[in-house]
């Protein structure tokens, strides 16, 4: 009852007040016509509130988002299934909470919704900005047919949606870093003919007990363990320069977003080419483990990479030391790809030192000034020259460049690139 009274809208309360005063006047003046109007005005909100409270309106909802991970700039679709657990309700207004970057919060009406029936709401998503978003909760407004009262409920169920940075397919290049192994990884498992297709070795301290190969142990009389069957990996480290100071521009049109997009495109490209990829940013690895995150072309690896890039943010750190430390510690195996913002000479020299041995190192240097409407290619090109001289393959990217073209230019020369690499502006031989 109290809930019913509290549910009265301003109109309902006004009706109640007007009706009561009309009744008082009617009794004082002896006006039967006024008394009727007064009773009507009083009865309408009360009957409405009672009917609304009686309907209760219990709904359950499930949300299916398709696809669950979508790049910014594409279109997705959400299907919400609503089931009525209470008696018949009518004129219920629904609104699903959709964060502003994904599009408008959709509104639907449930009318003549019987007990046990299901209704479906389908609405599109147009995510404009990468990130992790929450869809829902579904808010429902129950009101009476005269606007006398209104009950608002929220169905607690929410779903999350990841909007990845936009990425594009890149042309295939011949890159280094193939078959680079882990320092402690054993030789490639070779399946022998016959039944003994399990490569074993003797137990060493620290081996897991579950790896013990009991038939071989029995045969050999000492503990034997299965060798870790680990294929050879092609490895790549992708470093996104996430220093806030290294980027210009705001929002989706900033150089940082360009860098994230480029990293996403490159990372996906590498994963699809069966590289194990790890993602680094200014703070170091984008994961608790520094381990390589993927083995071969797996959707899971791609998803992980994109999820990480969906939520990557700039950091206030002025240098790239943790990431460069990780690169150096890697022992020089694998492919290194750096997408760098504006650099100072110290960072450039650090970066130059991070490549050693036969590592293939690629760098996309962003001419961040072009995101601020200036031309800074000269500075970027001088940095590119420094890097090139230490064996990096470098392109300078400005705001209007297509990543595919840049990537092709990175592979313009096969294998090693000398001191006159693709330094951006110069016409290629």
């Amino acid at each position: 009852m109290r809930a019913a009274v509290h549910s009265l809208t301003l109109r309902g309360r006004a009706f109640l007040a007007a009706g009561l005063s009309a009744l008082a006047c009617a009794v004082l003046l002896g006006q039967r016509d006024l008394a009727r109007a007064g009773v009507l005005l009083v009865a309408l909100p009360l009957v409405s509130a009672a009917a609304t409270a009686r309907a209760r309106c219990l709904l359950s909802c499930r949300r299916h988002v398709e696809p669950g991970r979508m790049p910014a700039g594409t279109t997705g679709e959400v299907l919400v299934e609503v089931e009525n657990l209470s008696r018949l309700v009518s004129g219920v207004r629904l609104q699903d909470a959709v964060p502003a970057p994904l599009g408008r919060s959709p509104r639907f009406v449930l009318d003549r919704f019987e007990h046990g029936a299901r209704r479906y709401l389908t609405y599109p998503l147009h995510p404009g900005t990468r990130g992790r978003y929450q869809l829902g909760p579904l808010r429902l407004t129950v009101s009476d047919p005269f606007g006398m009262c209104e009950l608002t409920r929220t169905l607690s169920a929410t779903d999350s949606l990841i909007v990845t940075p936009p990425h594009e397919p890149l042309p295939a290049l011949h890159l280094g870093g193939d078959w680079a192994g882990d320092a402690n990884s054993p030789a490639r498992a070779v399946a022998a003919a016959g039944e003994d297709d399990v490569a074993t070795r003797e137990y060493r301290h620290g081996d897991e007990l579950r790896r013990v190969h009991w038939p071989a142990t029995a045969r050999r009389g000492e503990l034997m363990v299965r060798r870790e069957e680990r294929p050879w990996q092609s490895r790549a480290s992708v470093l996104v320069d996430s220093r806030a100071g290294a980027h210009l521009g705001a929002g989706a049109a900033s150089s940082f977003e360009f860098a994230v997009s480029a990293a996403a495109s490159i990372g996906v490209h590498l994963i699809r080419r069966r590289y194990a990829v790890r993602l680094l940013d200014a703070e170091g690895a984008r994961h608790a483990m520094t381990a390589w995150e993927s083995t071969g072309a797996s959707a899971a690896a791609e998803g992980w990479l994109l999820d990480e890039l969906a939520v990557i943010e700039t950091s206030p750190r002025p240098d790239l030391d943790p990431a460069l430390h990780l690169l150096r510690r890697g022992g020089g195996d694998g492919l290194v790809v750096v997408v760098a913002g504006s650099l100072d000479s110290d960072t450039v020299s650090d970066l130059a030192r991070a490549r050693h041995g036969s590592t293939t190192a690629l760098a996309v240097l962003l001419d961040t000034d072009s995101w601020a409407g200036r031309d800074g290619t000269a500075l970027a090109r001088s940095h590119a020259d420094v890097l090139s001289s230490t064996g990096w393959r470098v392109v300078v990217a400005s705001r209007t460049d297509q990543l595919g073209a840049l990537w092709a230019r990175l592979g313009g020369r096969t294998a090693r690139v000398g001191p006159t690499p693709v330094a951006g502006a110069g016409p290629l031989p």
Binding site: A37, A43, L44, F108, G147
Partner: protein
């Protein structure tokens, strides 16, 4: 996949809102049926409302700011009003020329005058029509502006309420329930349409299948619940006022009774015409006592409140009075106008005590010679109307000395009507009493001549007219006949031949005037009912109107054309030379009333009043009389009591059947007793899980119920019996089940609160569980 939702376009929404507002306005204006007669006013109102709706929709379509919506309505309405009411002054048929405004204002003035002089329901003369159309147009524009422009249909209820209140302000009975229901339906419809639009505006409907295109909202569920809720509220609104106190009179007048007072000391009186209220008085549901009087006259006189001597074709009204303050009763009254010295009369004393009747006119027998009344009461010489601008007659006590004139047909036959001309023999301004409005229908004139063709003298003519009107084969007395005293009402009366005193009196007066006999209409009261010798009571239903005709040398002579069913026999002097001295009509020998001489002079009126009482049963209004409860309330109360009580009754019947040892086997009886015990425990709110054995149940109940020793023993016996009945090969004797169950039940109840016990009595939980069990099984 992107979906494009088909939504109602704003244009069609604007139209729908406008149409809903127009329909609400039209339905509300049905309340005008209580104040306007005929159907001539319907079409202007419909036109005006629809044009206003057009204006509202157009303004919305043009996206005008809400404040400009009335302007759009006005722009469309002015040409329409011009074309309807002042076509002559219009330029190009519709554009208001310079004369149009003047013409319209003149029309409004004439309408205002018409309203002053018309009874409700009034004949919709052009002036009244113009006022009505203008008023409805204002309401329609206001409703359109609020409902469509400001999108606040709820607030649009205010102008609608104003329109609905018009009859309540004018007519004593208000608009009645039917127009109210119509208005409320219109208003609720408007609200529902607004809510429908809001809902449709909210978004598309959720589809019943996944991945189907979202359909537009049809909202028939919303409309269905609108019907239910609206109907419930409406029924309450129609029914509930019957139970409100004081609606017939209002508490405010009761509180302020006798305190209202006195305007500035002017001697001009402008009152609502008393003739307009007669029908309302006659049809009052209760026959309230208005005044009482004692008199030493053998037969009491009619009490004349006011004389109406001006007839404009629409209504009889009293002359607008301008009386010097010197002409007040304390200075005495002059000799009655035109009364010849040869007419003999005896003075009669009457003491009148007025009750609730609050009039500005003083009811007096005619002709009065001297009056002692407190307050300043002024009189008008030619009419002898007595009035006060400072107080009303409410609770006034005054003494009157009047003349009882001896009139004979012979004397009257010898008298001549003075004929047209400025007071030929008397110096009185009798022209007023001969004047007929322009356009007075010749048919009435001809009819009067036909009726009086055989008569020679004016007196004979008057007698012939009266006899013709009193002929029960020709005319029927009917208080529910249409009201009105104008020429159109008279013509209608002469065709339908049904009417009441107002029509009879005004018809006779008009016909007499057409024959050259000065005539006027008196409004007042029949002598009333005799309650003690010489003591009389006048009630609402005694309100009456009768004509007075003027004869030279005799003065004003009352006639009684209203049939005998109402007035008894006609005055003797009007019965065509029946001979012998007769007294004036006031002193009508009403002894000849149909009910016979024993019922006293006022028998006719007295006999009629109860009859009207029977027709209009006041018991529908409880609180007014102590005579019994209102039957709808009784029915409702008994229905409610039945609803509340029936589960309890059912439960006790069940208990009686279970505990009755009517020939069933001992095992069955034991089982029934156990079931009864279980249900009693459930009724009282004790848990009784079906998983327990009888012994466990008994222990648990005994513990929870805190049973005393005898109850515990009874419980033990019962559980033993039921165990035996269920498991023993031979059940053995089963006795005292009823007593044991009753003992346990009483003991269980003692531990429970009074509320729980009441619930167990009225709404036993075991019945509910039983029902739920059936449902589950079903």
């Amino acid at each position: 996949m992107s979906r494009i939702h088909e939504r109602t376009t704003p244009t069609s929404e604007a139209w729908r809102a406008s149409v809903a507002a127009a329909v609400a306005t039209l339905l509300t204006s049905t309340s005008l049926t209580a104040v306007l007669s005929g159907a001539a006013w319907v079409s202007p109102i419909v036109v005006v409302t629809l044009v206003a709706a057009l204006g509202g929709a157009a303004a919305r379509w043009l996206r005008l700011p809400a404040a400009l919506h009335p302007l759009a309505g006005l722009v469309l309405l002015i040409p329409v009003l011009t074309a309807m009411f002042t076509p002559a002054a219009a330029t190009l048929l519709v554009l208001p020329g310079p004369g149009a405004l003047r013409g319209f204002v003149a029309l409004l003035h004439s309408g205002a005058a018409d309203i002053q002089t018309s009874a409700s329901p009034a004949y919709p003369a052009p002036g009244i029509l113009a006022i009505t159309a203008l008023g409805v147009a204002a309401v329609a524009i206001a409703v359109q502006t609020l409902a469509v422009g400001y999108a606040t249909p709820a607030a649009a209820g205010l102008p609608l309420l104003a329109l609905n209140a018009v009859p309540g302000a004018i007519s004593p009975h208000g608009g009645g329930a039917v127009p109210f229901v119509a208005a409320a339906l219109g208003y609720l419809g408007m609200l529902a349409v607004a809510q429908l639009s809001a809902t449709q505006h909210w978004g598309p409907a959720a589809s019943a299948t996944p991945r189907a295109d979202a359909p537009p909202v049809r909202a028939d569920g919303l409309l269905a619940s609108a019907r239910k809720v609206g109907l419930a509220a409406l029924v309450l609104a129609v029914v509930a006022p019957a139970w409100l106190p004081g609606l017939d009179r209002g508490l405010l007048p009761v509180v302020l009774e006798g305190r209202f007072g006195h305007g500035p000391g002017s001697s001009t009186v402008a009152v609502v015409n008393p003739i307009l209220d007669i029908r309302a008085d006659l049809n009052q549901p209760q026959d309230a006592t208005l005044l009482s009087y004692t008199t030493d006259a053998a037969t009491p006189a009619y009490l004349r409140t006011v004389t109406l001597d001006e007839f404009d074709g629409n209504v009889w009204s009293p002359m607008r009075l301008q009386v010097p303050n010197a002409q007040n009763l304390s200075n005495g009254l002059p000799r009655p106008p035109g009364l010849g010295s040869q007419v003999g009369g005896t003075p009669v004393h009457t003491r009148i005590q007025v009750g609730a009747l609050a009039e500005r006119w003083l009811p007096l027998p005619y002709p009065a010679v001297a009056v002692q009344a407190s307050g300043l009461w002024l009189y008008d010489t030619p009419t002898f109307n007595v009035f006060s601008t400072q107080r009303t007659t409410a609770n006034l006590v005054y003494d009157v000395t009047s003349l009882q004139l001896a009139l004979t047909p012979a004397a009257l036959a010898g008298a001549k009507a003075p004929g047209p001309g400025p007071g030929a023999s008397t110096g009185l301004p009798l022209t007023r009493d001969l004047r007929l409005p322009a356009g007075f229908p010749d048919s009435v004139r001809l009819l009067a001549q036909q009726v009086t063709a055989a008569a020679v003298t004016d007196y004979d003519k008057a007698v012939a007219l009266q006899a013709w009107l009193r002929d029960p084969a020709r005319f029927t007395y009917d208080t529910h006949a249409p009201d009105g005293s104008g020429t159109s009402a008279i013509e209608a009366f002469l065709v339908s031949r049904r009417g009441f005193c107002v029509q009879f009196a005004s018809t006779m007066a008009v016909m007499a005037r057409s024959l050259g006999i000065p005539a006027r209409v008196d409004v007042g009261f029949l002598p009333g009912q005799q309650v003690a010798p010489g003591s009389y009571v006048v009630r609402t239903h005694d309100a009456h109107a009768w004509p007075e005709l003027y004869f030279s040398g005799i003065g004003w002579v009352p006639f009684e054309p209203t049939p005998a069913v109402r007035t008894g026999a006609a005055p003797g002097y009007t019965q065509g030379g029946a001979g012998g001295a007769q007294v004036l009509p006031g002193t009508t020998p009403a002894v000849t009333a149909p009910t016979g001489p024993t019922s006293g002079p006022s028998a006719s009126a007295g006999a009629l009043a109860p009859k009207l009482n029977d027709l209009r049963d006041p018991r529908g209004l409880p609180g007014r009389t102590g005579a019994g409860l209102p039957w709808p309330l009784l029915v409702l109360v008994s229905l409610g009591a039945g609803l509340v009580g029936s589960p309890g009754v059912l439960r006790s019947l069940l208990r009686r059947r279970r505990l009755g040892s009517s020939g069933s086997s001992p095992a069955e009886r034991a089982g029934q007793a156990w079931v009864e015990l279980r249900d009693s425990a459930l009724d009282l709110g004790y848990p009784w899980p079906p998983s327990r054995t009888p012994r466990q149940s008994a222990e648990e109940i005994g513990r929870q119920g805190g049973l005393d020793e005898p109850a515990r023993e009874a419980l033990g016996r019962l559980s033993m019996v039921v165990e035996r009945a269920r498991y023993a090969p031979v059940v053995g004797p089963v006795t005292g089940l009823r007593e044991d169950v009753t003992t346990v039940r009483t003991a269980l109840a003692q531990r429970r609160s009074a509320r729980t016990r009441l619930r167990a009595l009225l709404w036993p939980a075991s019945l509910y569980r039983l029902r739920r069990g059936w449902l589950r099984r079903g």
